[in-house]
Amino acid sequence: MAVVNLKQVNYKYPLTDTAALSGVDLEVNEGEFVAIVGPNGAGKSTLCYALAGFVPHFFKGELEGTVEVAGVETKSSTLSQWVLNVGLAFQNPFNQISGAKYTVYEEIAFGLENLGVPREEMRARVDQALAVTGIGDLADRSPYSLSGGQQQRVALTSILVMQPKVLVLDEPTSQMDPVGTREVFGVIRSLAERGMTVIMAEHKVEWVARYADRVVALFGGRILMDGKPAEVLTSEQLLGRGFGISRYTTAARAAANLGLWPESRPLPVTLDEAVAGFGTQLSRRKRGEG
């Protein structure tokens, strides 16, 4: 059942002439993990803001169409009600960390404090959220003494602790090392399997292909493609438009022109797919079939 429902959403930021979103229709089911890909300026962050209620409650501008989460429309809700359903982790953790708290532990409890959650419950939820993202060892550190990647984990944890129905993430691993990236994608995948709906703007297409259920490609504020990760991420429609393309896809496309990629095989996005395809070619040639 669709928990997120956008119908014909058009949006322009104040004092601008160009639409940041145009005719966006999007339904996302409960427990689905949807990745939004697109070049810079395609509207990924704006879509995240629209889902999180920042458009129209913080960024004014002109919003047409409807954005609904769990049957409630964003225009008829307030931001303080909206955050109970939708959590947003910003692209830049510096913009999210409150600056009002001395330790990571307090920072993560900040949202719950604002809701007046009882003290014992608050402790339990903070401890659980710290365990989920694996940053218990940072609990007593100042958020500002952390590296960029560590701050991103703190920002993500401070949203997870709120237990939103829908989690919106704007490039949540952009400053993380590969192990951090893998862990965060793993955490997000398992949250989706437990019923949380996840919508993530992301450039790292290989990770998207491995973990997301579905990919929406945005270009110029419009949805260009919407489908299975392997179909969307290898589509020729993405070429020459600034979309991130996996190096495995690009190498296989070039190899196909040289007769080094099996003709009928779909292009790879992940390492495993690339190994399987190129491996077949290597063994066929060795057997003298190629």
Partner: protein, 269 residues
């Protein structure tokens, strides 16, 4: 401009030792990428190169200057630092003023300054934005303006802290183009990055840090091929290097051209 580091140690006031005895040197005109897990000391190390941090012990020399004895303002003439977050760096009302600010502070005369501003904006592809307010631009373009504002100072050493973070493919290509231009001009370029593919395709030397120490330091091809050692600092080899290893290619490859050539060679055998 040579950078020499001798037994550098740095402890933050809260007691965390972020750099634990690093010695290395970077030759003039070298293009070096520093990689390593979050918290491995990458940013702490390079902040010593422009004097933003002073060694707790040990010595950092930029050319003939000991960074403990020279002000940050003076070091700025030798070492330009492009921050990870452009919003820590931009403050003027127009892009043109922003990019001219550094050269003006260095006392570069008006005519040369104007040329530097124009050429630098062209190099990063922002030449049409000279009159825009930096904060009216997207985060991508703010980052390119921050890059231009450092390049315009024409320093011998340029430090790029996570230049490709959050950037799309077209912008990463533009940054790669800037790095290659700087190579032609014999500038020393030092980047901190988690983007190991960008690093493999554009840098000749890689230094991998782990827990404040040097884990690996050498030519890119030899460093990125050492998967087991890199794993100690949460770095994975570039995508095509991993693919080549999994396929059992005999040579380590670091970009598409090398991959296709090695694959073709192996198939022809």
């Amino acid at each position: 401009m040579k950078i020499e580091i001798e037994d550098l140690r740095f402890t933050y006031p809260a007691g965390i030792e972020a750099v634990c005895g690093i010695s290395l040197s970077i030759d003039p005109g070298e293009q070096v990428a520093i990689v390593g897990q979050n918290g491995s000391g990458k940013t702490t190390l390079v902040k010593h190169f422009n004097g933003l941090l002073q060694p707790t012990s040990g010595v950092v020399k930029v050319g003939d200057w000991d960074t403990r004895k020279v002000s940050v303002a003076k070091l700025a003439a030798r070492v330009g630092y492009v921050f990870q977050n452009p919003d820590e760096q931009l403050f003027c009302r127009t892009v043109g003023e922003e990019v001219a600010f550094g050269p003006r502070n260095l006392g570069i005369e008006l005519h040369k300054r104007e040329t530097l501003v124009r050429e630098t904006l062209q190099l990063v592809g922002a030449d049409q934005m000279q009159h825009a307010n930096p904060y009216d631009l997207s985060a991508t373009w703010r980052k390119m303006v921050a890059l231009a504002s450092v390049l315009a100072m024409d320093t011998d050493v340029v430090i790029l802290d996570e230049p490709t973070t959050g950037q799309d493919a077209a912008t990463v290509d533009r940054i790669a183009h800037v790095v290659s231009e700087l190579r032609k001009r014999d500038k020393t370029v030092i980047t901190i990055t988690h983007d190991i593919d960008f690093c493999a395709e554009n840098f000749e030397r890689v230094i991998a840090l782990a827990r404040g120490q040097v884990l690996l330091d050498g030519p890119t091809k030899s460093v990125v091929g050492q998967e087991d050692v890199l794993a100690q600092t949460y770095v994975e080899p570039p995508q095509l290097t991993r693919l080549g290893q999994k396929l059992g290619l005999k040579q380590t490859v670091r970009n598409q051209e090398e991959f296709l050539s090695e694959l073709g060679r192996q198939i022809a055998l």
